[in-house]
């Protein structure tokens, strides 16, 4: 009974909410003027047209919608187009253009400061320094936006969606390209990133720093400087993402740096220089992932401990596992390795001789990168075979004692 009663109390608000029209020949020709006049819980409908405005401050709860093609052009001014300083603001359906750049201020097409309950949806954001910038923002949504930066000045690009200190956010179904990072989380907890497509960003498709208890799933990361970097964070869940074509000498699909207790499951890593690079990662479960045609599937440094790598498919990678340590404190078990050449006499589906995923040549490459020219040559294959029979340089503890004989089917 309580909830309907509260709703009744707020009923007058809905009754007095006005619709304010902005556009040529309407009540207001400038968006800025309409914002001044609007009262809380009004709806601003912006009609088709080209508006040369910026620094639009929203300091009361408003719904801002577009009717037709609405273009708001900051004309390169070093200022935000929308600056949201009130809770419960919705901004939807606009085309926002030409913000900045600026070296001194983090200016964006839409910036929110110390708010909650904000929705930013279905906007086209072109050539802006930052696309959407959430600052001290909670319980808000960024959905269905298409954000593309100007490619010519890549290094001075900001991030497409940037969050600095946030909580309970939903970042869904956005497309980002041509920015520094597609999505950047710094000090963001308990948030979800679902169904986004991040491609052609200069640094990372998705980047976590000092963020805990977040989940990202069903995202696609292609052709970025590197796919995803998860750094200095705890309990991040990474599920059913695609990491593809993150290619280059210092590139990787997924970078794990100083993180603990995450989960990496049911992802696909295709055609990356290094699919996963782990440094200082601990307590992470990596299962049911597919590693297909990568230079290196998993590069796991000696300071990674207590990680479990099970039931994955490793198919046609040049190197399955690379490490810089002689010891192994991680669990590799029941994975499928296409490079495995053992047998299964007891027919339980798992090979009877252990598989050693680290080969000698990967150690040599680590010391002498230019030796790469000899990969797949006769002499290297010979060395690798001998080393597998009499291991002396490769970490003897790093084996999969139950290598699976046929690949897993996950669907």
């Amino acid at each position: 009974m309580k909830i309907p009663f509260i709703w009744l109390l707020t009923l007058p608000l809905y009754c007095f909410a006005n619709i304010i029209e902005v556009g040529k020949g309407r009540e207001y020709e400038m968006i800025g003027d309409a914002l001044q006049i609007a009262v809380a819980y009004d709806t601003l409908v912006i009609y088709e047209g080209h508006y040369r405005e910026h620094s639009l401050v929203v300091n009361k709860p408003l719904t801002i919608l577009a009717h037709g093609d609405v273009i708001i052009d900051a004309q390169g001014a070093p200022a935000d187009i929308w600056l949201v300083r009130s809770d419960f603001v919705t901004i939807s359906g606009l085309t926002l253009r030409n913000v900045g750049p600026s070296f001194l201020k983090e200016i964006a097409a839409v910036k929110t400061q110390q708010v909650s309950g904000v929705t930013i949806s279905d906007n086209d954001i072109d050539s802006c320094f930052f696309g959407v910038y959430l600052e001290y923002t909670s319980d808000s949504k960024v959905i269905d936006n298409r954000i593309s930066g100007s490619v010519e000045e890549e290094a001075s690009a900001g991030n497409a969606i940037h969050v600095w200190k946030g909580k309970n956010l939903e970042i869904m179904q956005n497309v980002t390209t041509g920015h520094r990072d597609g999505i950047y989380f710094e000090f963001v907890d308990s948030s979800e990133i679902v169904g986004n497509h991040n491609h052609g960003n200069l640094r990372y498709g998705l980047h976590f720093m000092f963020s805990n208890d977040d989940r990202y799933s069903d995202n696609i990361f292609t052709n970025n400087g590197a796919g995803v970097a998860v750094m200095f964070s705890k309990r991040i869940r990474m599920i059913e993402n695609l990491f593809r074509d993150n290619w280059g000498s210092a590139s990787y699909g997924l970078l794990l740096k100083e993180i603990s207790h995450g989960e990496i499951g049911r992802n696909r890593f295709v055609n990356n220089t290094t699919a996963i690079l782990a440094e200082g990662a601990s307590g992470i479960t990596m299962s049911s992932n597919v590693f297909l045609s990568n230079g290196t599937a998993v590069d796991i440094k000696g300071n990674c401990i207590d990680n479990s790598i099970t039931t994955n498919n490793f198919i046609s990678n040049t190197f399955d596992v690379v490490t810089n340590s002689k010891y192994n404190s991680n669990d590799f078990v029941e994975n499928y390795w296409s490079n495995y050449s053992g047998y299964d006499l007891d027919r339980d589906g798992f090979g009877d001789v252990p598989y050693r995923p680290v080969d000698l040549f990967s150690r040599i490459i680590h010391e002498i990168p230019s030796a790469m020219i000899l990969v797949h040559s006769l002499v290297v294959n010979l060395f690798n075979s001998v080393e597998k029979v009499f291991p002396s340089l490769i970490p003897t503890g790093l084996t999969d004692d139950r290598p699976r004989l046929i690949p897993y089917r996950y669907d």
Binding site: A155, R203, M231, L277
Partner: protein
């Protein structure tokens, strides 16, 4: 005889070039990678570099990465350079700069640390290079 002279000059030239102190190598944004945290270096207002006593060059995406590395790895020595917030992309010797820690400057590795070339470009009291290192090694 002429050949000897030629080779001799070449050797002298190589010796001169080889022995001269190295200049800092400009950071290529979007391409170079941080030696400490492996992030690719992308923000032109931040960055640092060290030329070790052996002549190796390491680059950093943020000054806090260099300072952290110096405090962790005491065997690392050399000439340090940093990029001032008010002079993006240019490397200056760390002794000539002023250091500010403030939430206004969101440096790439979360230390809110910025270097400044011009003393009038910021408010408040700046730290010197030595004070900055003491602060980080104390943490």
């Amino acid at each position: 005889m002429k050949d000897y002279l030629r080779y001799g000059m070449l050797i002298v030239a190589m010796a001169v070039i080889g022995c001269s102190p190295k200049n800092p190598d400009p950071i290529i944004y979007g391409k170079d990678q941080c030696y400490y945290c492996r992030m690719s270096i992308a923000e032109p207002q931040f960055g640092a570099e060290i030329i070790t006593s052996k002549g190796r060059i390491y680059k950093y995406d943020a000054l806090e990465c260099l300072v952290n590395q110096l405090s962790e790895d005491t065997s690392l020595e050399g000439r340090c350079f940093a990029i001032p917030y008010d002079r993006p992309r240019e490397l200056f010797s760390v002794d000539s700069l002023h250091y500010i820690i403030s939430e206004r400057y969101r440096s790439p590795m979360g230390a809110n640390l910025a270097a400044f070339y011009d003393q009038s470009a910021f408010d408040g009291r700046a730290l010197s290079w030595n004070e900055l290192n003491e602060k980080f090694s104390g943490e």
